[in-house]
């Protein structure tokens, strides 16, 4: 299965509030495509939806470390800042 197809399936689960299914699928996909930026990004956002902010932070920090030139860098930084603000 291609990453795009996996993300379509993840979206279906998310739209139906089946977050645990979406998490399972993303984790499985990451074992097939280790450290894929899009999969990680979606997992980070999924953790935010699941109110698992510390897990989201961990994933976002990983993206920043792995993809300092990546297309998600700026957005991920923003998301991290928002999480930090909500915790303080």
């Amino acid at each position: 299965m291609k990453v795009e197809e996996i993300l379509e399936e993840v979206k279906f689960y998310i739209l139906n509030h089946k977050y645990e299914k979406a998490e399972e699928l993303l984790k499985k996909a990451l074992s097939e495509y280790p450290n894929n930026e899009e999969l990680l990004y979606n997992l980070g956002m999924l953790y935010e939806l699941m109110l698992e902010d510390p897990k989201a932070e961990e994933i976002y920090n990983k993206i920043l470390e792995l993809y300092p030139e990546g297309k998600r860098f700026k957005d991920v930084k923003e998301r991290l800042k928002r999480i930090e603000e909500s915790q303080s």
Partner: protein
């Protein structure tokens, strides 16, 4: 909001920084020049002076401010004097920090609108957190009840409030539901979430995965609620 903070100890300084960060107009007053200097380019008015001096207090125009926070904890006499002057000058809302229970009692007696004991309040909140780690927030409602926030346990997922009969079975009332809803852009990519508050929920409201329930519960139910899976 326009707020004056009198006393720039650890608490006063932290509060001033937070309010400034949030874009409020803050006047800071302290006898110690060094403490005031830290707010030189941040506060609306950084003032070095003794707040027990009525002329100084009057110059702040306290009756025009939304609130005055008296964060003088260690000098009870000064704290009480400042509060009396502020009340005489018609300050609209006074919050004062008390060093101990006696100090708090005096401040309440003279008519201070809100008395806080930050260390005691923090200790209470930590004790609650240790006792009920799964409950995000806890507010006391009278002596025997609390309003708490908790993640909906799995056994509630995909069931309506009518089906769950929580009031009948557990003597608790779901007052609101907080739900993070995903947001997608035009291309269909998830770009974040928005928080939705369902308040009050209807009997037909269905609890979804990872909803947060705002619940009114008797205190003797909290331990049981902690164990819900």
């Amino acid at each position: 909001m326009q707020v004056a903070i009198i006393g720039l100890g650890r608490f006063g300084s932290a509060l001033a920084n937070i309010l400034i960060e949030k874009g409020h107009e803050v006047i800071v007053v302290d006898k110690d020049e060094k403490l005031v200097q830290a707010f030189e380019n941040l506060a609306e008015q950084p003032i070095v002076g003794d707040a027990t001096d009525e002329t100084l207090l009057r110059s702040l125009g306290v009756h025009n401010l939304d609130a005055v926070v008296v964060a003088i904890g260690d000098d009870v006499e000064a704290s009480v004097l400042v509060c009396i002057s502020l009340l005489d000058m018609g300050a609209r809302y006074i919050i004062a920090k008390a060093e101990n229970d006696k100090h708090a009692k005096i401040l309440k007696k003279i008519g201070v609108h809100k008395v806080i004991q930050p260390e005691k309040d923090a200790a209470k909140s930590i004790a609650d957190h240790l006792m009920y780690p799964k409950l995000f927030e806890k507010f006391n409602v009278g002596e025997n009840h609390s309003i708490v926030e908790l993640k909906a346990p799995k056994m509630f997922w995909d069931k309506s409030l009518k089906e769950l009969e929580l009031t009948k079975r557990y003597n608790i009332l779901v007052m609101a539901i907080r739900r993070r809803q995903p947001v997608f852009d035009k291309r269909g990519e998830m770009v974040g979430y928005k928080e939705e508050i369902i308040a009050p929920p209807s009997a037909n409201t269905v609890i979804l995965e990872h909803d947060v329930l705002v619940v009114l519960a008797p205190n003797d139910k909290l331990k049981e609620m902690e164990e819900w899976k």
